[in-house]
Each structure stands twice: as C-alpha cells, then as structure tokens.
C-alpha cells in the first residue's frame, strides 16, 4: 500500500478531484446519509485526518466508518439536516460534547448527537491506540 502522504491526495477524488488540494486544517466535511458506506478499513478516515479535516458532520454514518474514524481520532457528529443547512464555504462551529453545530455566519444552530464519554476520551487522546499507549504507560512495565 502507498504511504499515507500519497494516499491522502486521493481522498474523495471521485466526488471532487480538487478536494485534497482545497482542504485546510480544521475544515469540516458536511455530508448527508450513510457517509462512509462500503468502507470497512481505517484507510478511509485516515485520508481525511491526514489532510487536516477537523470533523465530519453527517446526517448518518456507515457503522464501521464511524467506529474507525473515532478509533483513529477523527471526530464525527451525527446531525440530521446538516447537509441542507450549510453550504460549502460556511464557517461553522461544532461542539463535540453537546453535538451542537452552529453557523457563524447565519447563526443557524442544529442539534446533533452529543458524543459519549467513551468516544470523547478516545478523541481527546488522539485515537484509541494513543489512549492505549497512555494507559500502558500509566500502568507501568508489564501492566
């Protein structure tokens, strides 16, 4: 498999060939139904994370994409109506622990699903392996 630095450049290219070059760190991807459908590997959210995407907000997620995104430290928020409420280029603010998604331009606020403690802990650590490493270090040699 190609290194991540190469793979990330192909992220979402069948949808938008300019996506990888247009993304800026902290950008939010807003999507409709079943985002990540057909994907079972971490490679999918990895590309987004490597490009600096700060969060994905979608009407719904494919189950394994959501698990894998959280596992690698990419925040995801389920929020009905997000793709209708926001346009490309809008500035939005996403609160992970409340699920609130707010447009800084129009003031529109949507109530997405807040992330539970378990997910917030993983995301705060930078992914489940980072959390594991931190736990292993706290526990000392040989756990």
């Amino acid at each position: 498999m190609e290194p991540l630095d190469v793979r990330k450049l192909h992220t979402l290219e069948s949808l938008d060939p300019g996506f990888a070059s247009g993304v800026r760190p902290g950008d939010v991807v807003v999507a409709g139904k079943n985002f990540g459908c057909g994907s079972s590997r971490e490679t999918a959210p990895e590309g987004l994370l490597a490009l600096g995407v700060g969060c994905v907000v979608a009407g719904s997620f494919a189950r394994l994409f959501l698990r894998n995104a959280v596992a690698i430290g990419l925040p995801v928020i389920q929020c009905t109506g997000a793709s209708e409420a926001f346009d490309q280029g809008d500035q939005i603010e996403v609160e992970l622990h409340t699920g609130r998604v707010r447009s800084l331009g129009t003031g529109v606020v949507l109530a997405g699903e807040p992330l539970p403690e378990e997910m917030l802990e993983i995301l705060a650590a930078g992914g489940i392996l980072a959390l594991l490493r931190a736990q292993a270090e706290r526990a000392g040699p040989s756990g």
Binding site: L64, P116, L129, L132
Partner: protein
C-alpha cells in the same frame, strides 16, 4: 441524545441482553453506550499482522487473555506470493510471542467456519473480528460483529471495547422451504425485498416457527449475510438445535439468552418461506435479487462453491446431489473450496469429493479462495461467475469488467452442468427420481 438510564418499559431484545451481560449491567436499552467485555476476538491473515504491530507500537507486550483470541490464516492459502509468505511468517512469530494457542495455520479452514466447528462459539458470547462476516456467529446465539484494526488492538490489550447498543429488527420466518430451495435463497430474498440498508446499525433477530426448524448450517448462512443488509449483529437465539450442535463441542452455557416477549423492536417483518423460489443476486449489489427463472440462460465462465457462507459439508453434499452422474459444461471452470479441512475430510469420506471431481471440479484448499479476489480463481474482463459466496461488488473477484452472481449450492451446481444460469429444479436426479 441524553444517555438513557435503561428505564424503558418492557423487556430486552437479544442484543440488549447480551450487551447488558457483557457490560456487567442488569439492563441496557438501544441507544446507550456501554463498555463491554469481549468473549472472543478473532483476526485473520489480512489484518493480524497490523493488529499485533499496533499492540507493540502502543507499548503493550501482553494480550489480556490468550485463550480468548483466535488467529486464522485463511485468506491467502497457501501463500500465493512471497509478500504473503512474509506476512504469514510474522503472524506465526506474533502468535508464539503472545502465547496464543487458538491459532489455525494455512489449510485448517476459514475463520468463520473454524470457530463454530471447534466449539469456540456459544450462545450469549460477545465476539469481535477484523472481518465484516463476524455476524456469522449469531447462528449459535452469539453477538458477533466486525471492527477495525485499531479497535482490535485495544481489545487484544484490554479485553474491552465501547459499543452503542443497537435497535433490533426481527424477521419472523414462517412456512417451510420447498425442495431445492435453501436458507441461502431466504437471505437473498430478504436482501432483495428489504434492501441492503434495512438493518443499518441494527441487530437482526431471526425468529418464528420456521427459524426454530433451521439447521445450524442454514443459520450460519443466514447470519453470515446479515451484514449485507447492514446489520451489526444477526442472530438466532440459542435453542434445542443449538444444543444439538454443541453437544459434542463443549455443550451449552448455563444461561442461554433469549429476547424477552415484551422487548421493543424498531420493526418486525414476517417472511414466508413456502412460496419461495431459488434466488440469484445480480451484479453488482447483494440486494439486486431476482428469482432464478428471470436470469436463466445467462452464459457462465466460472462456478464457485465455497466460502464462509456456503462451504460446509451440507453445501458440498447438496452440490454433489445435483452433480452426481453428471459433468460440468465445457468452458465452465467449476471451483470447490471446502470451508475447512474437516469439511474436506468429511466430503472425501461421504463420496461427495469423488462426485465433484468426476463432474470436473477443481478442488481448492480450505480457505477463502477467490471470494474476495485474492487468488484461486479470479475473473478476467467479460467473464461471468456464479458462486455461493456473499458479495458481488464490482471488481471483487478480479476484473471490474467481470460479473458476479450469487446463489445457493444447488443453483450453482445446476448452472455448472448447463454452462448457464439454471434453476436446479429443472434437473432430475440421475436415477430418475424427483429432485430433492
């Protein structure tokens, strides 16, 4: 959504019961997040090396419980490339280093066949695997689901993982299967009727009077393909049939979870088996399903009998029944992959392998074979294959200019004889008696 306290009227579904037990709670309700203890964690040769490397890179040098881990080399068997051989070598080293006894090396069989066969699956267990078809183990009343490699490394280290408790859809199965109609046809019919995302993020329970009559092989087929309708878990509650299967494999657990009669389901669908014909999933999605009569006559280049879906002795016997005294058509490659070494041995003893060989079959090693496009019978451009496996996505078995059709062992065998997609009921038994 606020965290539910679980105080919702009524009882629990099977998924809620199993997750409650795994989380050490009396009750959980759909929508809640729980931290659950995993009973069995399985990896195969596509992801095992990555999982162990993640573990070591995280500074973890021991697994939580080597007896609750299974490692299987099944996808690339025997190693078709030097690269695969290197990966397999590393997996063997990891297995030694971490003291994992439940290691099935190349040739033992497919992971989802080996776990039930060896009595590693029992009702009520929570099972995770780095494979979508981990739902298979719901056939024995366990909650099985696929997870990614990082999540799996966390499980290997701690034995725990977060889960969101899913809602449940129940399919009440009624009536009886007609001759030459199988549980593969039932699950294809369900996929075609309800769609590939009907059970998205949900647990599926197969219940009703016909479900209790399904044999374990049929249940394995149904639950294997539950993931193809979006299911997180696909389960038959443990019952007398399960007990019969487990009798020689360590027996039933003390407690066998079942759904409460007053559990809450997001949907209940009745599915009648009696009028069902053999079904075929057309390229390139599993829910594009038609009765076989609508696709008869399509020319074939390859027919495949095998996979975790339909590679068991019952499936090989069913194919042999159609192929007895017959040969495959010229120009069709007939591939047969027993799902395990045990199945291969049983099929040898029963005479099924002889029938298949006389019909012109190529018998592959016990393993995944060409199903996922790794090796062992891939397709070129313009080719058409019918198989007993579970996915027909574009390019899955090689060329993106090839077509994959999915069906039962009987339909595949009959189609191999005729060289085109064929309703198995068209062929009479070679002794002239009525088919099946």
């Amino acid at each position: 959504m606020p965290r539910s306290t679980g105080r919702r009227p009524g009882g629990m579904t099977l998924a809620e019961r199993i997750l409650a037990g795994a989380a050490g709670r009396d009750r959980v309700a759909a929508g809640e997040f729980v931290m659950a203890s995993v009973d069995l964690a399985m990896v195969h040769d596509i992801f095992a090396d990555q999982v162990f490397e993640h573990l070591l890179a995280s500074g973890v040098d021991r697994v939580w419980d080597p007896d609750r881990i299974a490692v299987v080399i099944d996808h690339l068997v025997p190693a078709p490339s030097a690269a695969a051989a290197e990966v397999h070598g590393r997996i063997r080293e990891h297995v030694r280093r971490f003291g994992i006894d439940r290691f099935f090396d190349a040739g033992r069989g497919i992971c989802h066949q080996l776990l039930p066969e060896t009595g590693s699956v029992r009702p009520g267990m929570l099972i995770v695997g780095t494979d979508s078809h981990t739902t298979t183990h719901g056939a024995l009343g366990a909650a099985g689901t696929g997870i990614g490699t990082s999540d799996m490394a966390y499980v290997f280290a701690t034995g725990r993982l977060w889960f969101r408790v899913p809602e449940t859809i129940r399919f009440d199965l009624v009536g009886a299967l007609s001759p030459m109609v199988t549980w593969k046809d039932v699950i294809l019919h369900i996929a075609g009727t309800f769609g590939a995302d009907v059970a998205q993020y949900r647990s599926v329970e197969f219940a009703g009077p016909a479900a209790s009559k399904a044999d374990v092989s049929g249940r394995l087929t149904m639950c294997n393909m539950a993931v193809e309708i979006g299911a997180k878990f696909g389960m038959f509650a443990g019952d007398a049939v399960t007990a019969g299967y487990l009798q020689a494999r360590g027996g039933m657990p003390a407690e066998v979870p079942v759904a409460d009669p007053d559990a809450t389901y997001s949907a209940v669908h009745e599915v009648s088996l009696s009028e069902l014909d053999p079904q075929v999933a057309l390229p390139h999605s599993v829910d594009r399903v038609r009765p076989v009569s609508e696709v008869e006559g399509l020319h074939l280049d390859q027919a495949f009998i095998g996979s975790c879906t339909n590679g068991r002795i019952e499936d090989l016997e069913a194919a042999a029944q159609v192929l007895r005294g017959r040969e495959k058509a010229t120009g069709v490659r007939l591939l047969v992959a027993p799902a395990s070494a045990d199945v291969h041995r049983q099929a040898l003893e029963s005479g099924a392998i002889e029938v298949l060989l006389k019909a012109g079959a190529i018998v592959l090693p016990p393993g995944c074979g060409p199903c996922f496009g790794g090796h062992g019978g891939l397709l070129g451009s313009g080719e058409r294959c019918i198989g007993t496996h579970n996915r027909n996505f574009l390019g899955r078995m090689g060329s993106p200019q090839a077509e994959i059709y999915l069906a039962s062992p009987q339909t595949v065998a009959a189609s191999a004889v005729m060289g085109q997609i064929t309703d198995p009921r068209r062929l009479e038994a070679t002794d002239g008696s009525a088919v099946a």
